[in-house]
Amino acid sequence: MTDDRIVPVTMPKWGLSMRLGKITDWVVAEGDEVQAGDDLADIETDKIAGTLESADAGTVRRIVARAGEDVPVSGTIALLAPPGVSDDDLDAAVAQARAVIDAGVPDEAAEPIVETAEIGGRKIRYAGAGQDGDVVLLIHGYGGDRNSWLFLQEPLAAGRRVYALDLPGHGTSTKDVGDGSVDLLADAVVGVLDAIGASGGAVHLVGHSLGGAVAAAVAARDPRRIRSLTLIAPAGFGAEINADYLRGFAEAQTRRELKPIVAELFADESLVTRQLVDDLLAYKRLDGVATALRALLGTLVGADGSTQRIDSAAAIAALGDVVPVTVIWGSADRVIPPAQAESVPGATRRLIDGAGHMPHMERAAQVQAAIEEAIARAR
C-alpha cells in the first residue's frame, strides 16, 4: 500500500490522439517546493511542445521519468509528497510507476472517434471525450480547429461529455463557408449540438475569439438550452482588433511569412514551434481554405479594414440572466485588447496574467479552473 499523501504527477493528454509524451526537460528538481500552476517540465509530443504546470502544491520528492524519455499518457512522471512520507513508500511508488513507463503504450489504446454531421450541405467534424454528464462544447477561433483545445478537452472530461468541433472552413470540416457570417457558423454549432443529442439543455458553451462570438450567437438563439457560456478573448465586444494579424494570417504563403504572424498569438513566442507553423501551413494549403479565410476575414474586419465588424452585444443582451457568462482574457493579448472584457455586461471576468490571445494553450490549468468555475456557477 502506498501512502495516500503521495500525489502523482502524470503525463497529460494533450489532444485526443496523444498517446505518448516525451519529457524534454525538467524545470524542477527533487526537493523543490511547488505551487499549483508552477511549471514542472517541458513535454513534447509528435504534434506539440508545451510546459506541464503543477495541479497541486507540494514538495517534489521523486522524479520518475528521465529527461528524454517517452512516457504513456497518464503515466506517473514525478511524485509530490510531504516530508513525512517515507523513502521506502516513495521507492515502492516509483517502482510501480517505472513498470508502467517501461511497458510502453498499450496496443489496444483506442484512436479517438471523429464524427461527422451533415449540416447545411457541409460536413462538420467533431470529437468527444468523457462518458456521461453535461455536454461541454468547445468552439475554436479564426484559423484554429478542435485541436486548439488539446490541453483542456481531456482534463474537462471528468464527469462530462466534452466535444470540440471544427467550424466550417476549418480543420477537417468542409472548407466552403458560404457568406462566412457568424450566423452560418452558429448553424453548424447548433447542428453539432443536435447531432450529439444535447437538445435537452445541460449544455455549456466555451468559445474562443471568433468562436466566442459564435458561442454567444448560439446561446442567444435558445438561451434555455445553454447552462453556461464561457468566452475566451471573444470577438464582438469593441472596435479595436489587430486586423494586420488577421490579414497576415490569411495571406501568408510560406513558413517564413507565417511564423512572425503566429507569434503574435502568444505572449511567449517560444511556443511557436516549427511543428505548429507547419501544421498551420498544411491547413492553409488545403484547397478552399484560402477562400474561407478571406470570407471570414470579411466577417471579422469591417470595410475600413481596421475595426471589428462583429457586435455581440445584442446576443449577450438576449441572454438576460438566464445564462451565466464568464469572460477569460490573456493580459498580454495582442489580437483583441483585454480591456474589452469590460464591455461584456454582467460577466464574470478572469484575466490571465502572462498569456496572449491563446490563454487556453499558454495557461491551460488556469483556464481549465476558470471554466470549471463557470460550469459550477450554472443554474
Partner: protein, 337 residues
Amino acid sequence: MARTITYREALNEALVQEMERDESVIVLGEDNAGGEGAPGDHDAWGGVLGVTKGLYDRFPGRVLDTPISESAFIGAAIGAATAGMRPVAELMFVDFMGVCFDQIYNQAAKFRYMFGGKAVTPVVIRTMYGAGLRAAAQHSQCLYPLFTHIPGLKVVLPATPYDAKGLMTQAIRDNDPVLFFEHKALYDLTGPVPEESYALPFGEANVVREGGDVTIVTMGRMVHTSLEAAEQLAAGGVQCEIVDLRTTSPLDEDTVLESVEGTGRLVVVDEANPRCSMATDISALVARKAFGSLRAPIEMVTAPHTPVPFSGALEDLYIPDAQRVVNAVKAVAEYAR
C-alpha cells in the same frame, strides 16, 4: 482528414483529385492502365508499380496506354501541354531518359524562353529513380542532377506520402514542365495525408528535424537515411538539423543557408553519383554564400562514381547508409582547426 496511407496511394489520390477537378488533366504512359489490346483485364497493372491503378475506368478516355516509344509519347505529352491539356506522362524509369531526352530538354524546357514567353507547357513527367531493388545499372539511377541542370525544368523529389500528394498536386497545377521523381523504395512508406486536396509550393525546403550542431541537406529517400543517422547521433549528443530540399529546381537556398548559419557545419547526403550532383551544388552554394559561417569543411555522402551494381552485396555498399552519414556528421562535428 489525415489518414495514414502509402506514398503510392498518396500519388494516386493526387491524380484522382486533380483529374476530377480539371478535365484537361490526362494520364499517359507505358502500362498506365496495362492490358490495352490484350484479352485479359484492361486495367491490369495500373502502372508498373500501381500508382495509376483505377484511373482508367474512373476517367474514360483520359488514361492512355502507350507503345514503348518514349520519344513519341513524352513528346506527345509536351505537345498536348502546349495545346491546353495538363498531361501527366510516366517515364517508367528515369534511366530511360536517354531515349527521349531531346523532347524534355530541347523542347519542353526551352519553349517558353525560346518563343519569347509565348508558350506555356504544363506537363508533368513522373519517373521512378533510385537504387535498392537489385534492378542494376539501367534501372536504378538517380539522374535528377541532370534535369536540375536544365533551365526551364522543375525537379521535384518527395520524401513522404504527405509531400508526394501535395507536390504532385502542385506539379499538375504548375504551368511549367515538371520532372517528378518517385523513389521506388518509398512507394510502401506510410504517413499521414489529408483527404482533401492541397498543393505544396515548389522551392520550399522542409526542415524535417531541428538541431543546432550540424546541418544535413538531403532529398528523396536519403531524408529517411539521414533521419535514422540523426537519431543515432542524438543519443551521442550531436543534434542534426535536416533540410529536405523537396525540389532541386527551384532550390530553397535561404533555408539551406539559414540552417548552416545556425550550425556552421554541413553534410550533404545525395543518393546520386558524386560529380556534378546536388551534393556538389549545395556544397558550392554554401561555400560561396555562407563561407563565413562554416566551422568545418563540408562533407558529402553520395554513391560512388560507378554505375549501380546488381549484386545485393555490392548495391548495399553503393547506396549511402545511415552509418556513412553518422561518420560524416561526426567528422564535421569533431573537426578542429
